[in-house]
Symmetry: C2
Subunit: 339 residues, 2 copies
DNA sequence: CTGAAAGCGCTTACAG
DNA sequence: CTGAAAGCGCTTACAG
């Protein structure tokens, strides 16, 4: 490894000052066009590597944006991240990703690391129990935050998420329309705004249809395929014998369908199942999954844009921006079928 | 946002020098214990945030490690990343993640960004067609690279991956043992070392069993669930009427099983299907998937350790480290069953 | 259009 | 055990 090439190396080689080199490499019109070309060529020839830490120390902008969600391996977040990534790529920002696995501490460590690196902003789906101070820590140190998928009370921060209450009512109404009356709700937790909203939407839809709400028909907890799969046993042994299940998300729904199939029943015929999110996988599940499109790509794109706009100085409106969900009817739901 | 708190702020407040503050905050034994405590408390009270760019500019170590793979949304890489993350977390390193989607250019941009940020090292699953120079770029600038999952010729870099040729022969032999003779191979590409090795392993196993290799039984390409799902049509219309399929990975296998089920056949009975990787999902698929454990967690853990050891100065042996795959027999394979 | 000089916030020999 | 001073590699007014 040769001697490190820096601005001054190029400057000396060409008999110019570092100021000129710096300006030229950043395409400043202050530098004559042919000088600029000569400089750029020399930089390339010498294998010059721009030192962002030095620049960032001076300018106090790093080009780094942090993104932290519950779990990037969850395709729901994966689809959001993909949209964020493509939006940020375009603006030459580097993004640093992290999972918090709903650990407030892990999330705080991440925010601190980001501050230490001089992060320009952060997009986050806050961990369960996140105190307002943790978001303020970021904002107070000049690092704006944008929330996705989950909202927080007592905070004026731009938030992008689906309209969960409305979305789950679409699914519930769809089942009611097919004649189902004993409808279970599988998965989710009351500890997140999303969880509360979805359960409420389910309850409201049932009430509106004049169906009594039986709390025993709720099986809270599952949020993954594995969870849905394991919940199948509990679900199938419910004394009320539900004919349909509204699931927390597509993963739970697919897991549940696997569990139902394992028990010898046919999902979509014997038991109707709805998902939530409309992951890419929903349409190739067997049977293909009736679900609610939740606009992951939209959420990611809008959140990234909002942050970039904010960094560019324009004042994005704070508060909650709801994406309107849409029903996707496929094969996993059908008319009521008595077991 | 108040005035920025820096080392000198604390120094002035306490009537000490920045040198002492700096040492104290990093727990140097050079500073008296009570001075140290006083300093730490004051730092906390003032809301001091360590400026890593400044430190890194001085020390030329950043604590940043880059990880770039084909697609973090692919659970195969997700499982590797999880292992890397937990290993790196322990050593207080920050890791920056990126997808290259097999674009050499995107990968190069990532390596350059990492160099600009002063990355300490990089763990990568090289994009198809990666030139040796791109890895050298990193190494020549003092940023060691570790390869995972895919290897590269003409390079002395530590590489961690499964023994693909051996692994796929396990799956093929398992099917042969069940009486299958017309076995298709679905998915993968000759453009990666992994792809070539797996196809070769399949061919060798057939030959060893005295079964003629029919190139028409290979359907290259698919690497995702969607791909496997779509390949089902082609597979089911093969004039040779294969009774079993060795799939490129679990995703393709699950997609293929979905496609087979959609066509009214029962995977595991009418058609035997093997996967590869043993993703968490394999055991809850319906039917549960017979597959080959590929040691993702091992690969991630070992690669991270190798990098950390290298950074700590110990000389890790270069070259290829193979993880030995193991068979996992479940319900998706069974005795031959004529259609 | 180009240059000289200060400064971003740390750490590290070197003194004492 | 603590301090004074230089320097990491940039960018940015300010001069000319």
């Amino acid at each position: 490894m040769a001697q490190k090439v820096k601005l001054s190396t190029i400057a000396e080689t060409l008999g110019l000052s570092t100021a000129t080199i710096s300006l030229a490499l950043r395409d400043s019109p202050l530098v004559a066009a042919d000088t600029r070309e000569k400089i750029k060529e020399k930089a390339r020839a010498l294998g010059y590597i721009y030192n962002r830490r030095a620049a960032s120390l001076r300018t106090s902008r790093s080009g780094i944006i942090g993104v932290v969600v519950h779990d990037i391996m969850n395709p729901f977040y994966g689809e959001i991240l993909k949209a964020i990534e493509s939006e940020l790529d375009r603006s030459r920002h580097t993004f640093i990703l992290s999972n918090h696995y709903d650990s407030v501490e892990k999330q705080r460590t991440f925010i601190e690391t980001l501050l230490q690196l001089g992060g320009d902003g952060v997009i986050m789906s806050p961990a369960i129990g996140t105190p307002v101070e943790d978001i303020k820590l970021a904002e107070d140190n000049g690092m704006p935050a944008i929330l996705i998928a989950r909202q927080m009370e007592g905070l004026e921060v731009p938030t992008y998420r689906g309209d969960d209450s409305y979305g789950i009512s679409l699914a519930t109404n769809h089942l009611i329309g097919l004649g189902h009356r004993t409808i279970a709700m599988i998965g989710g937790t009351d500890q997140t705004s999303t969880g509360r909203d979805r359960y409420q939407g389910y309850v409201n839809a049932l009430r509106k249809a004049g169906i009594e709400v039986d709390p025993e028909l709720r099986i809270p907890g599952p949020r993954t395929k594995q969870g849905g799969f394991e919940a199948a046993v509990h679900f199938l042994s419910l004394p009320q014998k539900p004919t349909a299940a509204v699931c927390w998300n597509d993963l739970v729904a697919i897991g549940l369908m696997n569990g139902i199939a394992r028990a010898g029943l046919v999902p979509g015929r014997d038991i109707s199942v709805t998902g939530y999110d409309d992951l890419e996988e929903a349409s190739i599940a067997t049977p293909s999954l009736t679900t609610v499109w939740n606009g992951q790509a939209e959420v990611g794109r809008l959140a990234a844009r909002a942050l970039l706009d904010k960094l560019a100085g324009s004042h994005e409106p704070d508060g909650i921006h709801l994406i309107k969900p849409e029903m996707r009817i496929r094969q996993s739901t059908g008319p009521i079928h008595t077991r």
